[in-house]
């Protein structure tokens, strides 16, 4: 691997600028003549817009324009799309309501944008936005999925009767019911997956530069996928054709899914800059706007039951899920509670029959979409809470029940689409149990009891699907795009290398790991390699970064391009050295003829490619190759997490005493970065399990709308993590990579809740296991919300 190649713990190249404050985020960019946008937002969860009065506001200092939704649609700006078509089980397409970037007739959640003010300064824009008078007819709102389906519930969109967007199913219902009819034991579980606010450190931002002479737009924006943003802004929102729109996602301070989507603010800033006739418009969310408008995550309620035969083998699994998608369908909202969720319901287990029914509904809340893990955390929470609940009911050790049902042979076709290609679930379980000293737990429990504390242990054996995904496969399931990735490797005449990638780094460390591939291949120092991403003028196309796909898909594209570069370089070298192409070897920055002392420096071969003085007959000069990589399958990271907690029965305060993670991510390029990903994922998963909760009141006001009320995990809430990896290579891509970006957030919540319910001695506990909720569970046998 060399000191900087594959497998090396290379320090992150990008961190120098990040930790010295030299990062360049969207809001850091300034343009001469730049104006500012401020949005007039609805204070009501559901209301009809009667009148918008801008008379006073438009006279205020610095105001260049105030625009509303009717003007926006009048100018031909298209409605916001959902990029994944899901059909109900009766074959009908999903019932999608219209979503205009500025509301035209109705507002449907608190924060829904009604108008925009463009002014010379931010203060002037905000002052004028406050002076815009909107006359609303307030309507009764509905905030929970259960209530939205009720007979008397307010109807949010004429297209969606009873607010139901689709009623979808997967798996064979009859066969599953038959398995239950023959079951020796049936375990039932009702489960809620709490709603989360994503909270990237950098709020969303958009900076539009409009060149009137060329009728050309440049958009700097906080995006995880700038090319997809340009495609959608052009093809669906008709802001500008693709050749007249450059999208740049510069340094982006965290995404977690919330920056995949193309939001109203970007669309409106592009349109309004031209309409107001100004050179540039900037909008940056303040933290309150982030809480109120960033797509939220999760928000499921499920009723599940699992059938076992007399040998405690699982024979059937049946699930009814209700998912709250908020006021409008966000870009990938329909795929999250369906193809990203129910396809993982087999977990690590051999389950012959699975049936899952998913209903999704509109409510007067922020749109819900993919958030770190996107569907897989919901599936894992359900499966792994079920396995522990079953073990308790069946009177067997949770580890043994799992082991008894593990899939042992690969490939394995589950009843819910996925075909697992490789894995060794027992290896992860063994590693985690050894690390936490599982067999000695009862001793530790007794010791805690002596101090008046309740100790518990809980595990989670997760599997997830990354590397999304084969384009034809996702196309057949309803995706509006292909999910390949592109790369271009440009070797300069002096031998330094630029890698252009369609992946986007917003914290993942691509500038380091991607460079390690080049280092591995040619033996060049990593500092001779520059990773270029996030600019539609530089990178031809790409699908961006989400779903832990940039290793398995993005790096595979780079590998393919490197193959082509290597082949051409060898041809050139063979010609220059008068040797056979097959005898050429590239190593440590040198190009040599195997078994001889004949060699050239890498830079000599590169220079030769560009001088063109001595190339093989008919060869084009230059050394630059591109590749598109379309994955052959999903990849399947898996592992085992074990959590040990101590609960103070007097206050409900729960302390994580030890947390062990044993993951199988396939080939690892940079173990340090992988560990960082696991740490961050665990922090988010533990945050969901114990702290984070988006709470609306009955009128649709978000009660947890700031850090005063939304509990973000902090360093002192978390233990030192014990992380390790086992390895089975992914057979589906050239490097054997599976992906590691979301596993921590996917696998950890059930481990935590299994541990706390073990400590308190019953199952009636809902996430987040805050001190209050745990105390209530101990004292009342569960809080009101838990007893659905």
């Amino acid at each position: 691997m060399g000191i900087e190649g594959i497998g090396a713990r290379v320090l992150r190249k990008e961190d120098k600028r990040f930790i010295t404050g030299a990062g360049r985020y969207t809001d850091d960019h300034k343009i001469a003549g730049m104006h500012f946008a401020a949005f007039v937002r609805s204070p009501h969860a559901y209301a009809k817009i009667k009148k918008i009065n801008i008379k006073e506001a438009s006279k205020m200092s610095g105001v260049a324009g105030i625009f509303n939704g009717k003007e926006l649609t009048g100018d031909g700006i298209g409605n916001i799309i959902c990029g994944w078509m899901v059909h109900s089980k009766d074959g009908s397409p999903m019932n999608m309501g219209a979503w205009s970037a500025l509301a035209t007739e109705y507002v449907r959640y608190v924060g829904d944008a009604v108008a925009v003010v463009i002014a010379e300064s931010l203060e002037e824009a905000q002052a004028a936005a406050e002076a815009v008078e909107v006359d609303y007819k307030v309507l009764k709102a509905v905030v929970t999925a259960e209530q939205a389906m009720g007979l008397k519930a307010p109807q949010l969109h004429p297209e969606a009767k009873n607010n139901v967007i689709f009623d979808w199913e997967i798996g064979e219902e009859d066969a599953t019911d038959a398995a239950f009819a023959k079951a020796a034991n049936v375990v039932e579980l009702d489960i809620r997956n709490n709603r989360l606010v994503p909270n990237p450190m950098e709020p969303r931002s958009a900076l539009v530069q409009y060149d009137a002479a060329e009728d050309h737009f440049t958009l700097h924006t906080t995006s995880q996928n700038p090319h997809v943003a340009r495609l959608v802004l052009s093809a669906f929102y008709q802001v500008a054709p693709e050749n007249k729109l450059r999208v740049i996602a510069p340094d982006v301070g965290g995404g977690f899914g919330a920056k995949i989507y193309i939001y109203p603010e970007e669309i409106v800033c592009l349109w309004a800059a031209k309409r107001a006739g100004v050179a540039a418009v900037k909008w940056t969310a303040d933290r309150s706007e982030s809480f109120l408008t960033d797509a939220h995550g999760r928000d499921h309620f499920s009723k599940a039951k699992m059938a076992f035969d007399k040998n405690n083998k699982i024979t059937g699994f049946k699930i009814e899920t209700l998912a709250n998608l908020g006021a409008y369908m966000s870009l990938f909202s329909s795929s999250v509670p369906t193809y990203l969720y129910a396809t993982l319901l087999s977990g690590q287990y051999n389950i012959p029959n699975i049936h899952c029914n998913v209903k999704t509904v509109y409510t007067n809340t922020v749109p819900v979409d993919a958030y770190r893990g996107a569907g897989r955390p919901e599936a894992t929470y359900l499966v792994e809470r079920m396995m522990t609940t079953a073990a308790r009911q069946l009177g067997v050790d949770p580890a043994e029940l799992r082991r008894n049902n593990f899939i042992q042979e690969f490939p394995h076709q589950t009843p819910v689409i996925m075909a697992y290609d490789a894995g060794d679930f027992g290896a992860s379980l063994d590693a985690a149990m050894a690390e936490i000293k599982y067999s000695d737990f009862e001793k530790r429990r007794k010791k805690s009891a002596k101090n008046g504390m309740l100790r518990g242990i809980g595990m989670s054996c997760y599997i997830e699907a990354c590397g999304i995904a084969p384009s034809a496969a996702v196309g057949s399931l309803g995706a509006g795009v292909g999910l390949w990735e592109s790369a271009e490797v440009r070797v300069n005449p002096v031998g330094t290398v630029e890698v252009l990638t369609g992946s986007h780094s917003h914290g993942q460390g691509h500038e380091t790991t991607f460079a390690q591939l080049v280092t591995e291949r040619f033996g060049l120092p990593k500092d001779n390699v520059q990773i270029v991403h996030g600019d539609t003028d530089k990178v031809q196309f790409g699908m961006g970064t989400y779903g832990s796909r940039s290793g398995a898909v993005g790096m595979s594209a780079i590998e393919k391009a490197l193959d082509k570069v290597e082949a051409k370089a060898k041809k050139i070298a063979a010609h220059m050295l008068e040797a056979a192409e097959g005898d050429i070897e590239i190593k440590d920055g040198e190009v040599m003829v195997k078994g001889t002392d004949k060699k050239l420096g890498w830079h000599e071969v590169c220079l030769g490619a560009y001088t063109g003085h001595n190339l093989p007959e008919g060869m084009e000069p230059g050394l630059k190759e591109g590749a598109f990589y379309d994955p052959t399958n999903f990849t399947f990271p898996a592992g085992c997490y074990i959590c040990e907690v101590e609960v103070d029965p007097n206050t409900g305060v729960t302390t994580i005493e030890k947390f062990v993670a044993a993951d199988d991510f396939g080939k690892i390029i940079n173990p340090m970065i992988v560990e960082g990903q696991v740490h961050g994922g665990l922090a988010q998963g533990i945050g969901q399990a114990m702290m984070e909760n988006a709470v609306y009141d009955d009128d649709g006001q978000l009660l947890s709308a700031s850090y005063m009320d939304y509990t973000m995990p902090r360093a002192d809430n978390l233990p030192n993590f014990h992380v390790s990896t086992t390895e089975t290579l992914c057979p589906g891509n050239p490097l054997g990579i599976k992906g590691c970006g979301e596993a921590g957030a996917i696998g950890s919540p059930p481990a935590v809740i299994n541990a706390i319910t073990d400590a308190i001695g019953h199952n009636n506990l809902t996430m987040p296991a805050s001190p209050q909720n745990v105390w209530a569970a101990i004292n009342d046998g569960g809080m009101a919300e838990a007893a659905e």
Binding site: Q126, E130, V695, S704, D709, P771
Partner: protein, 267 residues
């Protein structure tokens, strides 16, 4: 933030004069509550009169058991004052756990008690310590000063100059922080002044703001041990309720924190 005029008071008399001269002025001390509120456009005073430049108003004096703390003493100054830590470690300890280092280096004791946030720490200490609040106009006992949530006896142009008290024989503060904001969700200050005089101040929990639970004081005056509190009842009906703590949970926390404070004070 809306436009506002900033003034710096030279002395106490100047502060009062400046405030009376403006439309809708407010005194500014550390600004740890007022400034964020203004930044969110939820408060819009026409003028701010900064008290923190008034000479010697941040002085901490300890003469034997007699303690006087100037209103503009920061939490960090209270937390790290050597003589105070010796005679009244419980108050220094309380100050050391307010907010974070940024807040402790800007926030002041006078600002905290004048705001009387129901989740602030200092008001409980003022009650338990039997403190006297000294303003630019008068002196009054803490009980008279705190009149309810975010409410004090301060007149429009009145501000806190200092607080004074006799250090107790022993005391401690136990706080249960709100998991999100880390403000007190139940904070109990217990002070044993000797000769059967135990006072207890409770913050964060009650709908009426900071208060003294008389039954706890009585029980602890008889016998200063956690077991004395078993028979005391905290009325749920008086407690605050929000997404982080129901009234029942808060009532429980008040008792648990009171016991922990007694254990800590008994050392």
């Amino acid at each position: 933030m809306y436009d506002t005029n900033y003034h710096r008071a030279k002395d106490a008399a100047d502060a009062g004069k400046k405030l009376r001269a403006c439309d809708d002025g407010m005194y500014l001390s550390g600004g740890m509550t007022l400034l964020p509120t203004m930044k969110q456009r939820l408060a819009a005073p026409s003028d701010l009169i900064d008290l923190t430049y008034i000479k010697d108003m941040n002085k901490i004096e300890v003469k034997g058991k007699e303690v006087t703390i100037g209103a503009t003493a920061t939490h960090a100054e209270v937390a790290t004052h050597a003589k105070l830590a010796k005679v009244c470690p419980s108050l220094a300890g309380l100050a050391a756990h307010i907010g974070d280092p940024h807040v402790r280096n800007r926030g002041t004791i006078g600002g905290s008690i004048a705001n009387n946030d129901p989740a602030a720490d200092y008001p409980s200490a003022m009650l338990a310590l039997g403190a006297t609040i000294i303003t630019n106009k008068r002196k009054m006992k803490a009980e008279k000063f705190f009149t309810g949530m975010f409410d004090t006896a301060l007149a429009e142009d009145e501000f806190v100059k200092a607080v004074s008290f006799m250090a107790p024989k022993r005391g401690a503060y136990a706080k249960f922080p709100n998991p999100a904001s880390r403000y007190a969700m139940a904070g109990v200050y217990v002070a044993d002044h000797g000769k059967g005089d135990v006072r207890v101040g409770v913050t964060g929990a009650s709908q009426g703001g900071v208060y003294r639970p008389k039954d706890m004081e009585k029980a602890l005056s008889k016998s200063f041990e956690p077991g004395s509190l078993e028979g005391c009842k905290v009325d749920e009906g008086d407690m605050l309720s929000d997404i982080h703590g129901s009234s029942a949970y808060r009532a429980n926390l008040v008792k648990v924190m009171a016991k922990r404070a007694v254990v800590a004070a008994a050392g």
